[in-house]
């Protein structure tokens, strides 16, 4: 197992180097996709399956889809206006001063990077050894999370117990990061200027070509993906997974549905209004539930939420509903990212 991990790490560094030196953008994005997949395999080898699922679903899955749509959109815009790089910028680049500054900037950046790598290598070599039990960070904090997680939070998966109960304020901030990023992408990409007729023509342009092979396979795959996403979401506190990865898988299922059956059919059950309603209801429930548990905790009041017995699904108090809310928010946001990047509207 030791050298398998070593091979993966070397392959990881090679991927990173190829990405930075490859000329073609599409090639570097594909290499970056394989970089994220290798990273999720490494998470499995480092015995943290939660991270593996999340990295595979959110990191490799949705980020790469976003990269590909950006390249497609840039290609489309580029085709409409052939490259208008006027002569002046080409002429400016060739001027000796700019070239000289370019070299200086490149040299400065490489030396800064090398200095940081050297400082961190110096640092890492003095760190406690990898993987032995009595390092400073395996102290009473992690012991209590493992010993008491079932008794205090009811979650069999200690990581979810820690995220949604012991250190819940971080995850509360975390879903706000996703919410505010979605708001910023809405600001940037949702075009409200075009009037309704132009919008109808534009929607027609973006309607995907209906391909019977894709539609029949989507009829089989879409329910399977949705069920798998719901399984991971609902079992967040029992097995690895949870709100983020389950939501990303459901978002991927919605993206498949839009590509196979077109926007008209998807808008029947998922359009801009449902997106807004679902995110606001899920986040406000999350906000209320979390402030209830913070308030009762801080004022030492007894919070009357039953923890249920450890094994079954309806257990561990607030963790299940919170996971469902986070899952819904992540699914809607990933789908919203896809449609905003592709079409500029739900």
């Amino acid at each position: 197992m030791e050298n398998f991990r070593l091979i993966l790490l070397i392959f990881l560094v090679l991927c990173a180097l190829f990405v930075s030196f490859s000329k073609n953008l599409l090639v570097s994005v594909v290499i970056f996709m394989s970089y994220s997949l290798i990273m999720s395999i490494i998470w499995v080898l480092l015995e943290s399956p939660d991270l593996a699922i999340t990295e595979a679903a959110v990191g490799a899955g949705v980020t790469s889809v976003l990269f590909f749509i950006t390249l497609k959109r840039i290609g489309a815009i580029g085709k409409e206006h052939p490259d208008e790089q006027d002569e002046t910028t080409k002429e400016i680049n060739s001027r000796p001063a700019v070239k000289q500054f370019g070299k200086f900037y490149k040299g400065a950046a490489v030396t800064l990077g090398a200095a940081i790598i050297f400082a961190l290598l110096l640092m890492v070599s003095n760190l406690p050894a990898f993987g032995d039990a009595d390092n400073p960070y395996n102290n009473e904090v992690s012991e209590r999370y493992l010993e008491k997680s079932i008794e205090e939070t009811g979650a069999v998966n200690a990581v979810t117990g820690m995220i949604l109960d012991y250190r819940a304020f971080d995850t509360f901030g975390e879903s706000c990061v996703l919410f505010i990023a979605a708001a910023c992408v809405l600001i940037l990409l949702r075009d409200d200027k075009t009037d309704t007729t132009a919008k109808a023509i534009q929607d027609e342009k973006f309607e995907p070509v209906s391909d019977t092979i894709l539609q029949t396979s989507a009829k089989i795959l879409f329910p399977a993906i949705l069920m798998f996403g719901i399984y991971i979401l609902v079992n967040g506190h029992l097995s690895p997974g949870g709100g983020f990865s389950g939501g990303a898988i459901m978002g991927a299922g919605l993206i498949l549905h839009v590509n196979a059956f077109g926007y008209k059919k998807t808008q029947r059950f998922f359009n801009e209004k449902t997106y807004k309603r679902v995110t606001v209801c899920a986040l406000s429930f999350y906000c209320i539930a979390k402030s209830y548990s913070f308030f009762t905790g801080a004022n030492h009041l007894e919070s009357h939420i039953p923890l249920g017995n450890a094994g079954d699904i309806i257990s561990s108090g607030l963790i299940l509903p919170l996971n469902i809310c986070v899952g819904l928010v992540v699914a809607c946001t990933m789908y919203a990212f896809y449609t905003l990047f592709k079409k500029g509207g739900m």
């Binding site: 391909d211 092979i213 894709l214 396979s217 089989i220 795959l221 399977a224």
Partner: protein, 109 residues
């Protein structure tokens, strides 16, 4: 008995990995996109089936084996469809399709 089962599993896995390796070889051997797509799609799908059968035999029938069967089922539906989509995009966007491979008009099929 244990050794015998392990031997069969090893053979299956070896053939699966060999198929996948041939897919990679095919990718670099052929020049035109559709040929490379052809080798990659078929070899990958079949290689996955063989590897998974090897793992199921090695692991013995249980919950993991069921999961592996579901994985094979999922991949056998989504893999070929995705290569079909890529091939369709290639045919619809490539202007100079005739030079690459002879195309029968719809009437002559």
């Amino acid at each position: 008995m244990e050794m015998f089962r392990f031997m069969i599993a090893a053979i299956f896995m070896f053939c699966g990995v060999f198929c996948m390796a041939s897919a990679v070889f095919g990718m670099f051997r052929f020049r035109y996109v559709l040929n490379r797509m052809h080798t990659a799609a078929t070899a990958d799908t079949f290689g996955l089936l063989l590897t998974m059968i090897g793992l199921i035999i090695w692991k013995g029938f249980g919950f993991e084996a069921l999961k592996m069967i579901i994985i094979v089922g999922f991949f056998w539906v989504s893999g070929p469809v995705s290569s079909h989509l890529i091939a369709r995009m290639e045919v619809s966007t490539n202007k100079k399709l005739e030079e690459e491979c002879e195309v029968k008009k719809y009437g002559e099929l």
